[in-house]
Structure formats: structure tokens, C-alpha cells
Symmetry: none
Amino acid sequence: MAMMEVGAGTLAAVEFAKANGDRFVDELKALLRIPSVSTAPEHAEDVRRAAQFCADELKRIGLENIELIETATTERPGGHPLVYADFLHTTGKPTVLCYGHYDVQPAEPLDEWKSPPFEPTERHGNLYARGAVDDKGQMWMHVKAIESLMISCGGKLPVNLRVILEGEEEVGGEGIATFVREHGERLKADVALVSDTEMFAPETPTLCVGLRGMIYTEIEARGARTDLHSGMYGGTVPNPFVALAQVIAKLKDEDGKILIPGFYDKVQTPTDAELKAWKALPFDEEEYREHEVGSTELTGEPGYTTLERTWSRPTLDVHGMPGGFIGAGAKTVIPAKAVAKVSMRLVPDMTPAETFALYKEYVESICPKGIVLEVRLIHSGDPIVVSTDNAFVRAATEAMREVFGKDTVFVRGGGSIPIVGDFVRELKTPTVLMGFGLPDDNLHAPNEKFNLSNFHRGIESIIRFLAAVGA
Amino acid sequence: MAMMEVGAGTLAAVEFAKANGDRFVDELKALLRIPSVSTAPEHAEDVRRAAQFCADELKRIGLENIELIETATTERPGGHPLVYADFLHTTGKPTVLCYGHYDVQPAEPLDEWKSPPFEPTERHGNLYARGAVDDKGQMWMHVKAIESLMISCGGKLPVNLRVILEGEEEVGGEGIATFVREHGERLKADVALVSDTEMFAPETPTLCVGLRGMIYTEIEARGARTDLHSGMYGGTVPNPFVALAQVIAKLKDEDGKILIPGFYDKVQTPTDAELKAWKALPFDEEEYREHEVGSTELTGEPGYTTLERTWSRPTLDVHGMPGGFIGAGAKTVIPAKAVAKVSMRLVPDMTPAETFALYKEYVESICPKGIVLEVRLIHSGDPIVVSTDNAFVRAATEAMREVFGKDTVFVRGGGSIPIVGDFVRELKTPTVLMGFGLPDDNLHAPNEKFNLSNFHRGIESIIRFLAAVGA
């Protein structure tokens, strides 16, 4: 693999992509019209339609061994299919695994969309639709980069290629995780390319080199055997919500420091070089507070910047507290039980198992009087940091520099892409997280969009990356 | 009014009630089938149906001036009607005001009911249904006692009578409170009879001589402008649930002492005589913990007995915490807002207005960083202690002694019946709280029940009480 080497085929592919850009967008719109909401059983057939749409296109552009791999089992009847394709005829060249997901988040609340979520609409150079950027639009960049190379290289590719697309990324990715454990050899590659992250800022080519892991838990507090009336029993019966409040107040202090003994022991500080690079990023905290967050102030662990707090520090959040009375008005119940949904984001070298054990032991040790607590693990994912010291990352950096005319920045992401941990740990595959979303693209929210100029520049970056890997 | 005087009419009425007991239960079942949940806007028509059901029956048994008094106003469009009836032809005799309520608590959680909440079902001598004892069943005792006297006295009654039934007791009783303030003369009476309390223990005739008041509030915590993803934002964005937990943990310490400055300043200690009487009651704390409550231990303010904690000490409870994600599984949302439903029970001489002001000021003073709190009063009721030194209380005591063959005990109740405070304070009407529920009747909880033997003994006690008042 030689750097900077851009052959005639590559330039022809770039020209082809430019000439066919409008068609690529039209095809993407057709895919976006399929409401492939993976969490909604009533959309199961739509999810399958989207899978088939992708499989058909991978076949049309010349890939081989196209397969819809079923992940549904008796225990998991709602599993959605994987889409697999490959092209393994480029003797002596590396194999690239392209990953994307064709499922989307639910579109609710519908009344906050300016144009219907499943009727893709262009406004001001953006394409608005559920899944526009997460991840149908970014996945489509891979497909279209491959098509452009295939056409301009006369039915060949500069690299060997495997494509794996999943339909459960938005619901935890259990199907693909099982597939990787059981059939990892079918995804064997020298490098994985994932476009499901975002650029740090407009016009700023970005590689993501770390993702936080997580544990998602429930704490169930039980007091009385049945719901009781607070008039008759208030003052003598333990209240599960008050108990959970006491527990939560002891999990995290008012400055945002987590109080679980040993919680921070394994946390690795980013290198000085990484921290220095973050400080150089164009980040305006007040702008972020006002336009992205909208709270009166930002919070978090003292002594850390906002980027450190969201990228390299673990944290703890409460997502909901089911139980008791949540309707309008008043009901004076002391509920028999209440639950807190509590998750922690983990950073290297924390592990989900160890962190959950510390957490559980601590929560049980601060159990309020008269209350029985049960601490449950719902799901978890490892934190990862991907190595930047390899030719693949250098090729990606160079490809984007070429397209954007600016140096690529290295960032981390606060969230998880569960399968990336599996690529890194199970398959030992170096992974390049080359994303073209923007911070204001409204992922998981109404009015999701994808900047069309980034869609086209993404395709060109991927063409150049694949060409460089195969050079 | 002469004590012990039981005329032929009274005995005939008792016989009539016994002969018609099964019919009385059937009628009650018909009323219980109407889901008159006053807090639920979708049940507004059911609430009105229940009012009409009661009005029709009061007319059928011979009362006069039947009226559905509307309480809805432009400002309060959800107000439910009062039902009024009277019989004022018993010259020279006292006037009794019979009060009850035909609205019920919500039935949720539905899956914990052994038989459907609005399909009354008899098991082991109990009638199970939402509202069985609170208060449709106890209200029906009044109606059936009046019917029995009316029939056996040849269309006359031994007393003058007014009946007022409300449909908002479970949501604060604002409609009747306004009516009492504006048209108190229409409820003018020598004594009010309320059956919405319970017996201290099975086979123990009980008069309630004090009720706690309450304030029911909501604390709304707002952080970010919209829901955010905890992966991308966790660690820097204020979490409304964590904030509410911190606030709640500062409202009540781990021993159950309330930390609001000034909260206990107006609390009156019961008289030595009352405390001594309470100590003589047949109360087994371990039995109560195990069979009524079912928690691992009882909690509450140090230095007070369980009866003091629930009758003569104020307290604070959390009933539910709406917001965020409460479904099964995991959603990693940092919600923009969350709410805590918090109520306080008050004792003489605390007032709702003063207590709410202290609470609101304190909560605002401990508002966590980055959070905006709004503290709202949903409804309130004054605490009361009723006088026991009058002939009406003696008549009630004697009526129950006659029916149960045991001495009546005097207790307080931990809950509120908001209108009783208005009867006592606004109308200066001596009030008799003669209730026939049992401590394990599951008020406000799944599997609410009414012991049918107590229903029938309640009717007889009320017949004897009315006869004695009119003797």
C-alpha cells in the first residue's frame, strides 16, 4: 500500500461519482422512503424491504455472494437480516470490510418534523429524512464509492472487499454480534471501514479514534408488599422513590463526580498529544451550551473540559424512573416498588463486568432502611480506542485531506457503536471510523438531515481511501 | 335527643335492612361498575353517570330537591357535579348532613388485580372492586340506612336530613370547597355524618376524631432544551432525574425527619389523655409490619410510635416520577425534563399555605446546577381535630356499641377528607367520622375490598345513630 498514489482509475471513479451525483441522491431517497424502524414490530416488513433494496443494489453494481443472512431465532423472533456481499478477486491486495446499517430510529414526535420523515426533502443543500445521515446516507456513500470504482476500473476493484449491513444497530445489534462470534471468519479483513460518526465541525475532516462503552442497569427498590395509601401509612412505611433518590444522590455528587469506590481506578488519561490536539479543536463552549444543549449551564466533573467529559471520562445518567403514579393530577400512593434506569458510560480501560460489580456492591451497601434493592444489568458494551498508528488510518487521513483541502482532526465519540468493539476485540481488525455527519444533523431527533455536499465528499473520500489501500 | 331510645320504627328499619341486604349489595355492585375515576379526563362521562346513579336512587327512596350541582367553571372545565338531596319535614328535630363521595382512585396497576377493578366480585365475605370501601360502599350505607328508615317510618324520617355527595374527593375536593364557601347555608345542619374512614381493627367499632391535612405538589426539573443522547452528551448535560434525586434526598433524611426549615414549628403534640388512649389500643407493631405493610422493617421519625407517626406527625412522600424512558429495555436518553410528585401530610396547627411556602422556598434554594425547577401546588387540605365532647359523638358511640357489642375506640386518621376541614371550620358543624373500612382493605391499591359484614353492620349503626339523634 503506497501513500499518495492516485492512479487514473481513481480519478475516473471520482469523475464518475461527480457526474452521477444526482442519481446517487435519487437512489438514496428511494431507500429513505422505506420506514425501516427496527424497534417497531409493525415495521418488520419495511426493515426487510430495506435489506432487500440494499442487496439488490450490491448485486447490480457487481458484487458477489449476495446473501440476506437471517438472525431471527426461536428465542429472538424479531431479529432482522444481515446483508452480506463480497468481491475477493484482487489478488495480493488487502481486504476491506465495509459496515453500515439500514435500520433507523423511530420518527416520533411526528409533529415536530418540518417535512414528513419518510418523504426525503431537500432544503438549503440538506436532505431531510429519518435515516438521512444515520446511517442510510452514510452507508450509501460506501455503495456508491464501490460502484464508481467498479465502473471506472472495468469491473474490477483496487482491493478485496466484504460488505456487511445490519438492521438492528438502533436496537442493540444483537444479531450481528452473534454472527461475529459464530462466523467471524466470514468477515475476515485487514481493515474495517465504518461511516456512522460525525465530523467535529463543518468543513473539518474527522476520524473518530475512540468510543465510550456502557452498562445499562436497573435498580429496583421494594418497600411494602403492595401499594399503600400515603394518608394511612405515610410516616412509617419505606418509600421506594425516596429510597432511590437517596441511592442516586450517593452515586454522583453535586459536581458530577461519581462516588462508587474504585469507579475511576482503571480510567486511562488520554496522551498529552491527544489532549493537546483536542484543545486545538475549534470548540466554543458557550455556543455549544446555547445552541446544542440549551441548559442554563453545563455541568460535569470539575477539572475537565467539555470534550474530556464527553469523550474520555466515564459518567452516569438516570434515564427514567418507572413505578408509582405518573398520570396527570394527584394519586397518593406509596408504591410497593419503583425502578431507576441508570446507565454508565465507560472509557478505556474500564470493563463492563468489573464496573457493574463495583456498582452493584456499592448500591447494595447503601440500601436504605426497610427497602430491598435488586440491581440488574440490561446490556453492556466495551469502550474502545482504535490504534491510529497504522497505514489504514494514514490512508484515510490523506484521502480526506485531499477532498476537503484541510488537515484531518482526530476525535473520540461519547456513544457506542456496539459492533465496532467486536470488530476490534473479536476480529482484531483495525477499524477506521470515517464519518461525514454534522453535530446539528439531529440524529435520533426530528428533522434529521444530511448535508449533501458532505454526502458527495464522503463518496470521493471513500473512493480515494479504497484506492490508497489497494495501491 | 335522648340516648338509648330505640323505637319500633328503628327496629323495623333494622329488620328491613337485614331482609333487603342482598339487594343493597346488588345495587352497590351496579354503582361500582361505573369507572368514576375523577382524576382521568377520559372518565369524565363515567363520573357524571355515577352522580346521576346516586341522584336517581336518592329520589327513588323519597328524598326531595334532588339536584346535580355543577362545579365546572371556565377556569376549571373538568369540575365534577355535586349531588344534593334533602328531607326537611321533621319539625323540631336536628338536621343531619350526610356526606360521601362517588368518585374513585385510578385502578392502575391493572395486572395486580385478582378480579377486574370495575367488575365487583365477592370472595370470602368481601366485595372486591375499586371504590368498594372508598367511598362508594360506605356512601351506599348512608343511602340504604335512609331508605330503611323511610320505609319503616311510613315515608317519614326521625331527623331532618341533607345529603351532599361529591365527585372530586380523590382529586382534592375543590368543587365542594367552593360550594361550601359560597353556599354554605344550603348545607346548614346540626351534625355532619361522614363514613370515609376505617375501624382500628376487625370487630372494633371506631370513631375517628382527627385527620391529617395535605399538600400535593409537583417539582418539575428542566435541563437541556430537548431530549439528548447520553452517549454524545453524558457527562456535561444536567440530568433532571439526578437533580430531582438530589433535591428529594435533601427533603427527608435517612431516618425520616423532614429537613425543610420551619416545617415542624406549628406541630401540636396530642394531649396526654389521647396519647395514653392510643397506647391502650390493641396494636402489635410486628404484626402490622408483617401483615399490613410487608416491608423488612418499618421506618419513620425517631422517638415516635407508629400510631404517632401516622396520626399526629407530618410526613413527606414521593408518589411517582414521570418523564424520560419507562418502557422495558434500554433507551439512553437524557430527558429534557422530569417531574417528582411529592406530597406532605400535615397535622394541627400546620396550614397548607404556610407549609407550601416553606417547601417551595427551600426546594428553590437547593436547586442543582444547570437545572431550572418549578414547584407547583396541585391541591391541599387542612388538618383537623374534631370535638368529642357532644351528644352526637355519644349517640354514634352508643349506636356502634349496640351493633358490635363492644366499646367504641377513638382514633385519628392519617389521611385527609378535605371537606371535613371545611365542615368543621367554615360551617362550624360538629362532625362524626363513623367508618367501617378495615386496615387491610387496600384503599388506593389493587384489590380494594369492603367486608360485607361491615357493610351491613354499618347500615344498622347509621339507622340507630339517625334514630338516636331524632329521638
